[in-house]
C-alpha cells in the first residue's frame, strides 16, 4: 500500500517535472536511468558484470539515427528497430560471454565491445568521429510532433516506464526466480536440470535490448548518435551509476543515473569540465571502498535500522 502511494507520487513528480526543469536534461536522465536499470538487470540479478554495455547503447542509437535520417520511418518504428538490433548483437555477444564468469566475463565483454567500437569508427553508416548529426525527431505514430522538448520528454517518459516495467516483470517472473537460484548456487541449478548458460544468455539479451532502447531514445532526444556512446568510458559510467545508486536494488540505478548525469551536467557546463574524470574516478574509489551498497542500499539499511 505504502509503495503504491510512493509510486503514484513519483509518477506525479515525473509528469510535473518538465514545467520546472529543462526537459532535455530530464529526458537525458531517463535515458541513462533506463540504461543503468538494464545494466543492473545483468549485474544485480544475474551477477554478471559487463564491461561492454556501451556497445548496446551505441548500437541502438546508430540504428535509430540512421533510420530516422535515411528511411523516413516514424520514430517509434526506428526505436524498435534499434532495440531489436541491440538485442541481436546481445545474442551474439552473450553466446560468447556467458561461458565465462566474474572477471573473465567482464574482460570478454569489454574486448568484444571494443571490437565493435573500432568497427563503428570505420563503418560508413556511423559517420565515424563525426557521428550521425542532425537526426530528425520526427512524428511519433505519424501524429505527435516530437520537435517540442516537452512533448519529447513525455514520449521518453513513456518509453522509460515501459522499459522499467519490463525489467520489474523479468525480475519477478518464473524466469527471474531461476535467475536468482542460479546466482545463489550455479552448480546446483545445473544439477536440477537447468541449462544455466541459456538463462544467463536470455538475461543478457534482455539487458542488451533494453540498453539499446535507451540508446535509441537518447539519439532522438539529442538528434545525434556518436562514438561516445560506444566508448568503454560509457561502459564505465553505467557501472558507476549503478554502483552509486545501489547494485541489485530496483530503483538504485535510477537514482544513480540522476546523480551522475546531474554531476556531469553541472561540471561540463563550465570550465570544470577538466575535473570531470578526476571527480568521477574519485567517486568510483570512494564508492568501492566505503559505499558498496550505494545510495539506495544505504538508505534501505538506514530505514531497516531505524524504523
Amino acid at each position: 500500500m505504502r509503495s503504491r502511494l510512493a509510486i503514484l507520487v513519483l509518477l506525479g513528480l515525473a509528469l510535473a517535472a518538465p514545467l520546472v526543469i529543462y526537459p532535455v536534461f530530464l529526458a537525458k536522465v531517463l535515458c541513462f536511468a533506463l540504461f543503468a536499470c538494464a545494466f543492473n538487470l545483468l549485474l544485480g540479478f544475474a551477477g554478471l558484470l559487463s564491461f561492454g554495455h556501451a556497445v548496446f547503447l551505441g548500437t541502438g542509437g546508430y540504428i535509430t539515427g540512421w533510420l530516422m535520417i535515411n528511411s523516413g520511418l516514424t520514430p517509434e518504428i526506428a526505436i524498435i528497430a534499434g532495440t531489436v538490433a541491440g538485442g541481436l548483437l546481445g545474442a551474439v555477444f552473450g553466446k560468447l560471454a556467458v561461458k565465462r564468469e566474474g572477471i573473465y566475463f567482464a574482460m570478454v565483454t569489454l574486448a568484444l565491445a571494443q571490437l565493435v567500437f573500432f568497427l563503428y569508427l570505420q563503418a560508413p553508416f556511423t559517420g565515424g568521429e563525426d557521428g550521425l548529426q542532425g537526426v530528425p525527431r520526427g512524428k511519433a505514430f505519424g501524429l505527435i510532433d516530437l520537435a517540442d522538448n516537452q512533448t519529447m520528454y513525455y514520449f521518453v517518459l513513456a518509453i522509460f516506464l515501459a522499459g522499467f516495467w519490463l525489467i520489474h516483470r523479468t525480475v519477478h517472473s518464473p524466469f527471474g526466480q531461476i535467475m536468482k537460484a542460479i546466482r545463489e548456487n550455479e552448480s546446483r541449478a545445473t544439477s536440477l536440470g537447468y541449462d544455466v548458460n541459456q538463462y544467463k544468455w536470455i538475461a543478457f539479451i534482455i539487458s542488451a535490448a533494453l540498453s539499446a532502447l535507451a540508446g535509441s531514445t537518447k539519439t532522438l532526444v539529442f538528434e545525434l548518435a556518436s562514438l561516445t556512446d560506444v566508448h568503454w568510458h560509457m561502459s564505465g559510467e553505467v557501472i558507476l551509476m549503478t554502483l552509486v545508486g545501489g547494485v541489485g536494488t530496483i530503483i538504485g540505478p535510477l537514482v544513480g543515473a540522476g546523480v551522475v548525469v546531474s554531476m556531469q551536467n553541472y561540471l561540463s557546463g563550465g570550465e570544470l569540465g577538466n575535473y570531470l574524470h578526476i571527480i568521477m574516478g574519485a567517486v568510483f574509489v570512494v564508492c568501492v571502498l566505503s559505499f558498496r551498497s550505494g545510495i539506495v542500499g544505504q538508505f534501505n539499511k538506514f530505514r531497516r535500522n531505524n524504523f
Partner: protein
C-alpha cells in the same frame, strides 16, 4: 533565439584535449578581450560570457549548445575547434536560429554542403590551406603525393580538396592512409608512405597528430629523401616541432603574430594574459566577436537575422582581417599567409618561427561561393 535584449556569448572550445593549445582557454581569453575592448556593454546591458569544454566530442558539444540556446539564452556561440564538434553545434544553432562564429574549424562544409544563414566561418578553411601550400609545392615539381590523413570530417575534407588542387596542377596522388584522431605511433603509416614511391608526404591532420607524424617520419629517415607538407600547422605545433626536422617546411596560415606592428601589439596583450603567443584561431575569435558586437550595436537588437545581415553588410577590418569581407554564404574572406618554418639558427627567440613567403589574397585562397548558399 529569443530576443531578450541582452547579449550572452558562449565559447565552446577544447579546454584540455589535443586541440587545447589551438583553440581552448585561449579562445575564451581572446573573446573576453574583444568584449572588454568593445566596452563590456551592448544594448545597454552587460555582455555575458560563458564557456565550456567540448572535450572534442560532438555529443557533448551538441548538448551544451542545446542547453545554452534553449535554456540559458545564449545568443551566439564562438570558439569551435574540430569539424565534428562544429558540425554538431551548428545543427543545433541553425535550428534555433542562433549565430555561430566558427574560428577553429577547417572544414569547408560549413559554407558549402552544410551552409546556413546563421554561420560565419572566420579564420581559415581547408581550401585556403590547399590553395596555399599544396599548389605552391606542386608548381615546384613535387608531383607525387602520399597522404597521411586524420580519419574524420576535417581530414577527409582537407585530403579531398588538396587532391583536387594536386590534380588541377598536374600532380598525382599515389596513396593515402587514414590514421585515427589522436594516433601516437605513426611508424607504420610512415613505412607505408616510404613504400609508396611518393616525393611528398602530406600530413592532412592537425595538432599533435601533425607533430607525432613528423617525429616518426624523422625517426624512420623519411625526411632524408621526401618532403613533408604539414597542411595545417598552428603556431604552438610549429613551436613543438624539432627545428632540425621542420626547418624549411612550408605551410599556410591565416595569421602570424609577428607580421606587423598591429599584429604584434595585439599579440603582446594576448600573450600577457595567456602566457603564449596567439594562434590564428585566437586572433580569429577576437576578430569575429568584435565584428559581431559592432553589428549588434549598429542594429540595436540581438535578433540573429538582423545582426547577421549587418555583419555581412560591413567589412570586417582589424589586425586580423585584412582586405576582408564576410560573404553572403558566411565565409569570411581575408588575406592568407604562406610561411616557412625558420632554421634554429635564424630564430631570435622561441616565438620567432616563421618567415612570411607570400601573402595570398582572399579571393585566390578561398573557394568560390555556391549559389545555393548565397543567403
Amino acid at each position: 533565439a529569443a530576443t531578450d535584449g541582452k547579449i550572452k556569448i558562449g565559447v565552446l572550445a577544447d579546454m584540455g584535449g589535443t586541440y587545447a593549445d589551438l583553440c581552448g582557454p585561449g579562445c575564451v581569453i581572446a573573446t573576453r578581450m574583444a568584449i572588454e575592448d568593445f566596452g563590456g556593454k551592448a544594448l545597454g546591458k552587460d555582455i555575458e560570457l560563458v564557456s565550456a569544454d567540448s572535450q572534442l566530442k560532438p555529443d557533448i558539444a551538441s548538448s551544451v549548445a542545446r542547453k545554452w540556446v534553449e535554456n540559458e539564452d545564449v545568443d551566439v556561440i564562438g570558439g569551435l575547434v574540430s569539424s565534428a564538434v562544429t558540425g554538431a553545434v551548428t545543427q543545433v544553432t541553425n535550428n534555433s536560429k542562433n549565430i555561430t562564429l566558427i574560428t577553429g574549424s577547417a572544414s569547408n562544409a560549413f559554407t558549402t554542403s552544410a551552409c546556413s544563414p546563421y554561420i560565419a566561418h572566420w579564420t581559415y578553411n581547408v581550401v585556403a590551406l590547399a590553395n596555399g601550400t599544396v599548389k605552391q609545392m606542386v608548381n615546384e615539381g613535387k608531383n607525387k603525393w602520399f597522404f597521411i590523413t586524420a580519419d574524420y570530417a576535417f581530414g577527409h575534407a582537407l585530403e579531398g580538396v588538396s587532391m583536387k588542387v594536386i590534380e588541377a596542377n598536374g600532380g598525382e596522388t599515389v596513396g593515402t592512409v587514414r590514421a585515427p584522431l589522436g594516433t601516437t605511433d605513426f611508424s607504420s603509416y610512415v613505412l607505408q608512405a616510404q613504400a609508396s614511391g611518393a616525393n611528398v608526404v602530406a600530413l592532412a591532420n592537425a595538432g599533435n597528430d601533425t607533430v607525432n607524424a613528423l617525429n616518426a617520419a624523422a625517426e624512420f629517415g623519411l625526411t632524408d629523401y621526401m618532403d613533408i607538407a604539414g597542411l595545417l600547422v598552428f603556431t604552438p605545433n610549429a613551436q613543438a616541432m624539432d627545428p632540425d626536422t621542420a626547418q624549411g617546411m612550408r605551410l599556410t596560415t591565416g595569421f602570424y603574430w609577428d607580421m606587423d606592428d598591429q599584429t604584434r601589439a595585439w599579440s603582446k596583450r594576448f600573450e600577457a594574459l595567456h602566457g603564449a603567443i596567439p594562434s590564428m584561431a585566437h586572433a580569429g575569435a577576437y576578430s569575429a566577436t568584435m565584428h559581431y558586437l559592432k553589428a549588434v550595436d549598429a542594429v540595436g537588437t540581438d535578433d540573429s537575422d538582423a545582426v547577421m545581415k549587418q555583419m555581412k553588410l560591413t567589412k570586417p577590418d582589424d589586425f586580423f582581417a585584412r582586405n576582408a569581407t564576410l560573404r553572403a554564404d558566411g565565409r569570411m574572406e581575408h588575406d592568407m599567409l604562406l610561411v616557412e618554418i625558420k632554421k634554429a639558427a635564424d630564430r631570435k627567440n622561441k616565438n620567432d618561427i616563421y618567415n612570411i613567403v607570400e601573402v595570398i589574397p582572399g579571393n585566390k585562397a578561398y573557394n568560390p561561393m555556391l549559389p545555393s548558399c548565397a543567403f
